[in-house]
Symmetry: C2
Subunit: 204 residues, 2 copies
């Protein structure tokens, strides 16, 4: 009798971001899944992130793509919640200064908004929701978060988004300073993905 | 060696409706779960169904209760989508005529809204989303639906809500006429619960 391999389940990552794909691949390593990038599906619809919460955005993206592609789809939404700004920029993190994904402008706007806020009140957290949707509309969502503080100027050239302003007190470094491997271990997205791995394994 | 019983997982049904509890118990029979009613938790918060979709409402209710009780919680939201009314009453199904849960007034309002709509254009569907939330914020959601047509007057005294107006063509009976056992087999909630059973079993 020849050795039977478990059939691999295909999961499409609802993102064209190569860094994200790599991070997801690392956390899900060893599971019988083959991850595919959204770049392989040029006709996939663009899903607007119009939801009021990270959860809504992640689910909407995953559901629309799973239904369109007829495949399992994993999508995430994440952002920064600053306590002194009552949770802002939140779901608007990527477009806080207006244009989507203008990291430099977003960081400038955040520093300006916190200009008169002292160190002790600059608490904040990164939050991430990861949603896995199947074409039959089943959705599994998990969360992760990472507590920190907003610095007074950017530090470090790693990561993206608000990483250079997000100080992680246990390491006394910003997410821009940190080694990617360490960042993945402590980050909001890393935590959400590890929670997903635990929940996903028995479904395969 | 004594026979080992699998430990039972406790799941709270986020509803005080005894009919719903019974229906859920029937579909999940045989799984190693012990279902508890929300009536056992008099201090549980009332969760307002303010979402724009069945999914949002079901998830919100399950998440808030799971976090409050520290237990797994199963909640559902469902309603009627009438094509001639562009999907109305939808998430407002229970409060279509104003007051929450006034079935007679809701049915009268629906008949009035469809007064001049001929039989062929009275197509509609019941939809249901069931959400299972854990205290760690993991959420599993599944859907079910049932296609039918809105009658010209109420028929049958079974069920609740719009059941006496919802004609199920394969049986040529309304949900108000149908035997509860048959209704559970074909209904939107029955389908969602069977989908949940399949997804839940490997998580226990």
């Amino acid at each position: 009798m020849s050795k039977q391999e478990a059939p691999e389940r295909e999961i499409v990552i609802g993102s064209r971001n190569k860094g994200k794909l790599k991070e997801i691949q690392a956390v899900l390593a060893g599971l019988p899944v083959r991850l595919r990038s959204l770049s392989e599906f040029p006709d996939a619809p663009e899903v607007e992130e119009t939801g009021a919460t990270f959860r809504e955005n992640a689910e909407l993206k995953a559901l629309v793509l799973a239904s369109h592609l007829g495949l399992w789809v994993l999508a995430d939404d994440s952002g920064l919640e600053v306590d002194a700004l009552k949770g802002e920029p939140g779901v608007r993190s990527a477009r806080y200064a207006g244009q989507h994904g203008d990291d430099a402008a977003n960081n400038r706007k955040l520093l300006e908004a916190l200009r008169n806020v002292p160190e002790a009140q600059r608490t904040a957290r990164f939050r991430c929701v990861v949603a896995l949707a199947r074409p039959d509309s089943l959705v599994l969502t998990v969360e992760g978060s990472c507590e920190g503080r907003i610095g007074f100027q950017p530090r470090g050239h790693g990561g993206f988004g608000y990483d250079p302003l997000f100080l992680y007190p246990p390491e006394n470094q910003t997410f821009g300073d940190l080694d990617p491997e360490i960042k993945n271990r402590i980050s909001h997205r890393g935590e959400a993905l590890r929670n997903l791995r635990k929940a996903l394994a028995p479904m395969l």
